[in-house]
Point group: D2
Chain length 341, copies 4
């Protein structure tokens, strides 16, 4: 079986595994208080040009999002998200479990826009209403779409105008940063956001996300307490930093960027081949996810050889399938799928 | 100044005050374990034709809603509400404070419909998503609209088909039940719902809402623990029952219905007079709230003599105002406003 | 039957009822934004000598405690309480429902002491442990004991030394303030505490507690949002202020002090009579609760005529009963009990 | 520097790393729905003799404890723990963050006893009080003490008598099971408990704990929703199972038992050497933690060469230090410490 179901279906890139092996027998303090975490933090600060940024490490996106968002809100404050946002559609109410509302704003394409923020702000009148206080987006979006520099700048300016905290979920950030048409550098993103995370799980690591607080004063000043209380402080915390160091070292020339480019390239090959084969894409293709409208009989046939996700029904006879490339997707695997079409 | 701002701007109907005075020096147990609460519960059970219903008393709608909804959901379950629903727009995230999501469904007129429930159910796929498990509406709606028997039956059937708990907030239930065109009796409503409350605060009481669980098995079986934990168990609990007994005694001939009819009648006089005076209503008028589109200069003028709520902007020069009648609104007060137009 | 079970078994003092009657038909804004609330707040500020204090009104102690404590803590902070404290033993985990730990410190007599606070502080090491950040006591204690000025000062100094917020639950504050041996004025208490509430429910009101924040900067600066979110903002909020104004007007010469003295006096008569009749008190008597060791047969006999609470077993044949006097307890009722012994 | 500070200061046993390397390039579904998780679950079921047990995997003890405990309680129920229990002293209020009380019972030696449970049960009277509904212990205790079969049986019987759920935290379970004087097999423990977890992080894994529900009907029936909502579902979930399979394969002859024995043996060598060197142990030594009373000057000297934890002050001139052996502690490291004494 060939897996195109997700970017977390296999282990880590061999160089990441090698880093884990090489450091395996070194003793360090636990819970992220170790030299690897310090080194990775310095590496990230230099890379993004923010020597004062706070950096924290998580094993996954959900604990990172839940901790960060709850650490940036008072109890009666909520977070604005596109209604297709990951925290709204795929985290089982983790945000609400900390007592906070999500203002889920419908969008035409999964991208939040300043006018959506303005609409959400109308929810607040006085002490009878929840105060929208933070904006959450993912870069790229849940559908793979890449916010342009202009779009991201507009969101950031809207947040600053209304004193909202701007937080960007970067579970697949590398694929956005290396997308051919992308015009937004990570340094610029760090300027525009108050917090963001750089995701490793889906681009070459066993697990690991680096949360960057460029405006730590907008979050609880005992952030590590919030992480621990959320159950999200890994005992052998260095494991995350060891992996991310291996991925991030080199910045634009890093393994992280190389793997991200690889994911994009294979996805482009997929998307182009699919269109050439006469199929219609559900949304314009960007980054490492390709959504295709396909008739149900063909889907059943493909499922004998390929593992992928049927995203939603399209019409009576068709559904939308999602194909995802990962750091380990080979040209042969893509060719096999294209051939099967 | 003449108050048309709300139906809680003055005290209780004199007969309610008299009941409080007459029972003031009787000793009883606390926390609702008293003869008045028992008697009021029997009265309600007979009235609605549900001898097995559980009845609990609250001082207000927010603690009633929060307790009831959280007592009917598992942690990963949420409640479907029209996006104009009271719990979503005017309770400062009380539902979320108990860890539950609200699925806020946009509606054209404030009324939830079965298709909105079906749409909300699409949010649930698997353990990565919140399960919609309860439906919340108010009768009448936040805009005063009255669900017809056909509409309410359709909602109830949709809930039963999908194994959803159906809960109706009746903060102003009397005004719906006595609305001239209403075709849904309280006995029928009790059949269609799994839980509902009959509100006293806005129709003649100092405070007090009677929650009726017609399907108590759909809620936590230690319901009083949930009330106490929410901080909603009144020490002198009988005060609620004493008032509601005075209001509810007599069923269709009760003081509650008489006051509800009075609120409706004065609102009808208001609405008719306003239209005759050449103003446009924002939404078709039902029950005791009248929403009027008015130019801002006129609003400023009216505010010198009348106290009311400016609901929302309409266009550059106009806003929507809300006029509310209460059990104590006099003909003279209504006439004064109509004259001022 | 004669009720000595609690101080909330009957309604309000006639003068309180009269105040409610007299103001019943006046229109005001809702939710505590009315002239009565403003006037009561001014009255309290003058009485306690704190013109800058914030005052908020609640219908009961549990919502007051839960709102205040959660509004004064970050998520990873907890509150120190004597293990016999009301929030620990009789509020069904309302504090924990807001996500906060109670550090329940065993005491010999229900009174917290600075050494107990010091012990609790040992719980905090680093981000793996909850930070004790607030101290909660009741004056008088759950057993009726009155903290002396020296004791209260020591607690306050300990709190200030360790930067802890000091909050005093005064559900029965009047009985402590008017206790014959009491040496602590309300003005002094207001100086020593960061927040406290003056309870009306148990001393003459239908319901109502006035929360005083003498150091509002130690609590959430949007305190009314916290109240509403907790479901604790009464629609006809003025009802609390109307009652408390009637009780508090006059300060030392107020109805509140007169009723408190009455409760104490009848309790003293009870306690003295009980000891004279040869029974042993469980704890030294102070304020309006009397705890008596009594053999179980005698208890069964008394229960035919009197309603009271059997507090806990004492030994195989004896239990502890609690007798409580209220604003309405008559000399005759006390005499009847003493005669029955 | 020689690390004796914890059992999570280095990586995983080489055989565990090898298992990760060997399976690294295999594609599987995510979130624990993979063949390795299924195989590990079967392995555990066979090992403990419970073919019907539910097994779930976590990256650490805190998310495991928080999810399991909150999934086994109604909102107004709490968990009984020794006051030295890990959830009470080292998890930053994670349990309270889910709204539940911990009844922290003082013990003489860190071990909970049936009489402590009976005492905690006295906290429950009625709807004004939290219901103790679960019992939490760690095997071994936070001080390393091993519950005997008789002690564990007594706890289990007490729980069953009172309908309490019995949950055992086995972060270091292997060291208890292989302790020379231990008389309780894992099969017996599985019979006595309703749920327990077998910890990998501290005995040879990079991370990973296997939660076993032997009575899944006592917990939420949508347990995976609870895990995800807590943010505790690892994307590449198989990583835990791959490691634990490598550790657990073989049961009594497993690598897990071998490493546990090694930790114990080195700790015994440490403890014996320390006593021979004239130092006093703080508590009788069991399993892989050794607590030593040492004068502060000597501690300062040792800290130049060794990394360990100063647990608490003992008297003015002495403190208690904690020395912990891990799967990787060498004889030479132990000898070095003994020599330094």
């Amino acid at each position: 079986m060939i897996y195109l179901i997700s970017d977390y279906s296999l282990g880590a890139h061999p160089k990441v595994m090698q880093a884990l092996m090489e450091t395996n027998l070194e003793h360090t303090d636990g819970y992220g208080l170790d030299r690897f975490s310090d080194e990775c933090t310095e590496l990230i600060r230099e890379w993004i040009g923010k020597p004062e940024a706070d950096v924290h490490y998580f094993v996954g996106g959900t604990p990172c999002n839940t901790t960060t968002i709850s650490a940036g809100l008072r109890p009666y404050e909520g977070v604005i998200t596109p209604s297709a946002g990951h925290i709204y559609v795929h985290e089982t109410g983790s945000i609400e479990s900390t007592g906070h509302r999500q203002f889920a704003m419908p969008t035409k394409d999964g991208k939040l826009r300043p006018e959506d923020i303005e609409t959400a702000l109308l929810h607040h009148e006085d002490e009878h209403t929840v105060i929208p206080k933070m904006v959450y987006i993912t870069q790229p979006t849940e559908n793979g779409g890449v916010y342009t520099k202009a779009e991201m700048t507009a969101l950031s300016e809207c947040c600053r105008k209304h004193n909202l905290t701007f937080y960007i979920d970067g579970a697949r950030l590398g694929t956005a940063l290396t997308w051919p048409e992308n015009d937004l550098t990570i340094q610029e993103l760090a300027d525009l956001a108050d917090a963001f995370y750089i995701g490793g799980t889906k681009i070459g690591a066993l697990f690991g996300e680096a949360l960057v607080l460029t405006h730590p004063e907008k979050f609880d000043d005992r952030f590590r307490y919030m992480i621990k209380r959320q159950g999200a402080l890994l005992a052998k915390g260095r494991l995350i930093a060891v992996q991310l160091k291996a991925l991030f070292a080199g910045g634009e020339d890093s393994l992280y960027f190389a793997l991200s480019r690889h994911e994009n390239e294979q996805a482009i090959r997929l998307a182009n081949g699919i269109v050439e084969a006469g199929y219609e894409l559900w949304v314009p293709h960007q980054t490492n996810q390709v959504f295709v409208i396909m008739d149900n009989a063909k889907i059943a046939e493909l499922e004998k050889e390929f593992v992928f996700y049927t995203w939603c029904p399209y019409d009576e006879n068709h559904s939308v399938i999602r194909l995802v490339t990962s750091w380990g997707t080979t040209e042969e695997e893509v060719d096999a799928l294209l051939k099967a079409l």
